[in-house]
Assembly symmetry: D2
Homo-oligomer: 416 residues x 4
């Protein structure tokens, strides 16, 4: 991102348009319904990302600020206690009003006001703080772009009609290369963001960690490999599971990944392209931490730590720009390099989500962005097929609870 107002405005416009574009194949009804408390309606995402700019940009910087609608301050606050009251998360799907059209009007109104405000303020002494907040708002919106598709996928999956979001059919993949191992020696390394461009606060400070020697798998675990685990009775063997994972398997009577659907003809997978035959070469996805950990144990391996992952990824020259509603199989590789670090599925690490040494949260409501979630969650690294362009980073720390399955999450193995 260039350091002047024009580039910031261009970036703002691009990100904001992309969000609306994601919702365009959908009906008003598709955008309104909430499928579970963890997921939000598309309309809510459209409004909340707008609320973010209204609250943290317009309310602070616009002279004579008046909110678009006084109740939207409450309705579209996600979790910022510092801002005030919030509509309860499990009730987000009850909001048939405002309508989708009204939310789109809300977006346009805020965009126009931000568009008028930015050129003027970027010439003032507040330009630094303003740019930081706009960049944060855009990165925040990109996170919600990914959630729009994963939350929608969960909603559509509950419909016996198995509707599709993307028209195009999935093509069968060619055979992927055998999994190989890349070795790393013990070393005192540095991980975390070094500054100079945007990052979330949870990626800082850059600091030293000592990493013992380890090996990392060259590619992700495929559907075909995970199917072997299923067919070997993986979901019936307590010895393969963490104790809490085993309780979760039993309580939910699980026997396969979330979107796999067995029928008389074999295994299918629900995708954003509708119900498709399970492609053995594509990466296993919508895998929980519990399942990833059990698979790794079955395979005689383990999950990497986030320091191991970041160390291995540090050699990557460029993050590929992929964007598709379903992850692709690993492409053929020359040599022993690592593939699928980005753009396929997020990769569970064995690292609990915790503050880096010396981590400090920002003052005020913005400080609620990351720090307060640092308990009982596990870090995922890389990015997924639905992570928007330019959003991924080597130091990026995604995080979800160990039982979460509705994100594009999968498995990269490691060994000591």
């Amino acid at each position: 991102m260039r350091n002047d107002a024009d580039s910031l405005i261009a970036e703002y416009d691009a990100v904001r348009r992309y969000t609306v574009a994601l919702s365009e194949p959908l009906s008003d009804e598709d955008c309104c319904v909430q499928s579970m408390p963890d997921a939000s309606p598309v309309k809510w995402h459209l409004a909340h990302t707008t609320w973010f700019f209204e609250t943290f940009i317009l309310e602070r910087f616009e002279p004579g600020f008046r909110p678009f609608h006084p109740m939207f301050r409450v309705l579209f606050n996600s979790y910022y206690n510092g801002i005030g009251e919030k509509h309860p998360r499990p009730q987000r799907g009850m909001l048939t009003r405002p309508s989708l059209d009204e939310v789109r009007a809300y977006r346009r109104n805020v965009d126009e006001r931000v568009g008028r405000l930015l050129p003027r303020l970027m010439r003032s002494e507040m330009s630094g703080m303003l740019r930081e907040l706009v960049e944060l708002g855009l990165q925040h919106e990109q996170q919600h772009q990914e959630l729009i598709l994963t939350d929608l996928k969960h909603l559509l999956s509950l419909n016996p009609l198995a509707p599709s979001y993307a028209q195009r059919l999935l093509e069968p993949s060619g055979r992927v290369s055998p999994l190989t191992w890349q070795h790393f020696d013990a070393a005192l390394i540095e991980i975390g963001h070094a500054g100079g461009a945007f990052c979330f606060d949870n990626e800082t400070p850059r600091h030293r960690e000592f990493v013992e020697r380890f090996s990392l798998a060259s590619r992700l675990v495929t559907n075909g490999e995970f199917l072997a685990f299923v067919e070997d009775g993986g979901y019936d063997k307590p010895a393969l599971w963490l104790s809490e994972g085993w309780d979760w398997v039993r309580a939910n009577q699980l026997a396969h990944p979330m979107y796999w659907r067995p029928d008389a003809s074999g295994w299918n997978e629900f995708t954003l392209h509708g119900l498709q035959p399970l492609d053995p070469e594509r990466p296993a996805t919508h895998i929980s931490y519990f399942e990833a950990d059990a698979y790794a144990r079955w395979a005689g391996a383990r999950l990497p730590t986030e320091a191991e992952w970041e160390r291995a990824a540090a050699g990557i020259a460029m993050i590929p720009e992929t964007n598709a509603p379903h992850p692709s199989a690993a492409s053929a590789m020359s040599g022993s390099g690592l593939t699928q670090l980005f753009g396929a599925v997020w990769q569970w690490t064995s690292s609990s989500y915790a503050p880096y040494p010396g981590y400090i949260t920002a003052a005020g409501a913005i400080g609620e962005y990351n720090g307060k979630f640092m308990v009982n969650q596990y870090v995922l690294r890389g990015s997924s097929c639905v992570t928007p362009p330019k959003h991924a980073r080597i130091t990026y720390r995604n995080f979800f609870p160990a039982s979460a399955r509705w994100q594009f999450t999968g498995i990269r193995l490691a060994k000591s």
Copy 2:
């Protein structure tokens, strides 16, 4: 209803059109969302009532029958195990597909096919059975017309914007007459439907019951009267409540009727006209059996039995045709007659919903209509402001669990 095909078809058209008319002020989003497992989306009501005709009329009588959509058989089956699989009730709100437009097309398709079928079949030897099924389907649809409005009201009530369904504002009511008591001597009476016109099977057979002497209140309990109970600490005194009712009050931390909303200026009530000041003269509504019973005890009275209610109503010459989104205050009366038996709010009786002596359910899936619900529910008599025209009967037995509050339900007192 006249006994020939023309009148049946006219009736069919009128009832079916009325359902669609009820949904017209609503957006696609309003029609899609389910607010709780007990309530269904408006779109689901539109489809299920159509499914009823498709399943019980077209499938039985239409030569070469093919369903409009094979999955609709499952999606829009409510509770008929005899028909086959059902989409789970708490998941009705997940169906963003089929769209509202597709459901309207489904309605038109079934209506056209029924319209072609009826004239021909009404001349056949099947005309008797057919007429009974059509009448049942229409009465069934009228029940869902009432539910459309009560379920929608519940949904809108969860929205902090307090949206309104009806544009018109509510007018304050004039003072109602003081409550008086009408006396009845002990007698062996007959209750239940005597035949000759449509009734549900639960109203049969007409049979004898002995009723001891009692008195019945001339009108319903008003908001003002119920407010006196609230202000006297009625929700804090266990001695006024059934034991299970008291547990329910405590577990849900209740202090007033469901749609009452206190604010700094006093009491308001959420209505289909939006949030309105509480009108002390209108009948208290959205009252559970537990609340009705506690109020009656506080007032030194009790709820009537359904035999008492039916005995008192038996003298009614004509059932008034009222239809409004909110119940009106009792109109001034001449003499000591009973008012508000119909058209304001359903009246809880102390009678558990049970089969009449000699009651027999129909064979097959139609037999699931009523009988299987005859446990742990209480009978309500009369009708409400949103009961559709021509649907009420003196022998009508409505029923809900003791904690249900989202229907237009209120209190008529009795005394021994």
Copy 3:
């Protein structure tokens, strides 16, 4: 019970001693544990029945009354809000203190004080009220004598060692007579207690009911008959069940009565004699209302109303005094009379537990004895094998929720 002090004291001593005798085969541990919120520990029953006399007799009539222990007022109050605070019902099993010995000392202390009080007061003008309260206390204690055994049975049933309470083994029964039907014509009858001896308030007032013609089965449904229902897939056919009953069957994955235990050799039944082969001639017991209703539907019959049951029982000359830890098979009969009305298992009626016309509760805490439970429960008539001697009456109204199974409850069929 004779009307003078001596007989009252003798009665008091006999009932109080019988309670202690029931607990004698048990260890301190057996007496302390609570197996579910609906059941209470034996020690709690021993204390609560004593609390009843301390609270309603000593506290009112003993000069200079001081409680045995101030906290016992709270710990052993069951549900009398009028008396004050109560220890929460699900926490009764947490009371390892006071010890069983201390509770026995509490019993002796209260018994001595009541023993000193009664002779003096029975000569005063308070003798009438006092006798009523003592009689109520003794009948109350007899109710808890039955609960001691049913609650204990539930506790022991949860132990994989299948411990027995009674040493003696069960003998196989001889074949019972075929079930026959006794017919009754329609009639206006009187039911309820006529006065002149003790009854609970819920048996009053005696009043008129009109009963249509019906037939009543000559004996109870046997294990063998119920087994035929099980083997016919009775628990898999929704058409046989009330809707709420079917949900209950599915949610709890039920396939047979509560204490039946299938093993490789066939069906066994957990009893107070330990695990025993299922005796096909003894009455089916520990049957819920839902199961009783489903069985009756499967058998082409129905459950009787309580008015029907009481009418049929009215001809009984004498209630047999049986007392055993498990119900016996019906004995051979001469003629077409009714057997097993008393002393085997309580018989579910289809009557919801409701106040009789004109029913009035007592003032004060004693008024909480019955009335506040008159919702969502069903009346059972007769008595069971563990109902203590002299406790049964033709007008007795027992009541439990439709899903309750831990009492000795079974099925007598009726037909219209």
Copy 4:
């Protein structure tokens, strides 16, 4: 522990006797009841620790082994899926049989057989493996010795009589020294057990970690200090809490530590000495991770990592042998040393419980001891007042979920 049979047997006898001694002040009832699914009855602890020796020693090494009772294999298996069926954890309190006397007989029987087996086998080639298993069994039993007291404390706390386990009263403490900070520079250190004596597998392998510079508090947080947090509204300020912690506070309506009891005269604390006035100088205990983290944030500090804690403790010459039912205040210190590392309360670290690099679980059921619990738990370091003598180690890793409060857990602060 010396390396010959005599010392092993002496150690065995001492540990086994100590367990029984802990139960001696208790009644059969106290030993039988389970207060919550997380806690077990004392009787169950007595039996399970015996089951451990029967299963892992006698069954493997005793010629002609026959179990004391075949069902005990199931009843007293805690969580070893590799051994077979387990009695469900929440049902441990239902086992009024076997009696406490029978469990004591079980202990004596196993002790005698182990006593006969050890001298002979310790001369065989199996002596190494045997000693390891016996040592594991004794350390396992010591863990249950601590749980016996914490689980019992929870049970007694639910009794409104506030019974005491220890007769002696608590003396008020003298003023503790002001909290000071001990500083440590950044360093690459080694943590984990170095071998040469017993440790649990989760303490291995010893490995390198890089630790940035930090400071550690000289003593634990006191009741008086935690009370200042309470009185400053600490439980009402979401900004102080992790998001999940805040949800936990609200859902459970918490306003102070678990065993604190406010009354008109001020703050009391339930202890194993009964209800006592809150002593401001003793360490705050029964604090959850959520509370510890919120307190630290309020105090402008943080919790230490386990590497920081172990680094700071590494300088400790000797672990003090304290053993009391309630933690003492910090004693006066010379210089700037660290006190209360052991023998007062376990200290929450910010480290999620995870395998050390290169950690390998044992084969078979013994491998279920630790590894399968390494998710969603936090490591505690040090030991508590009820940790038995000789059980604590500098490398010891205790672990509990973030909401657990019934252990003796408290707070030592750290700063970056």
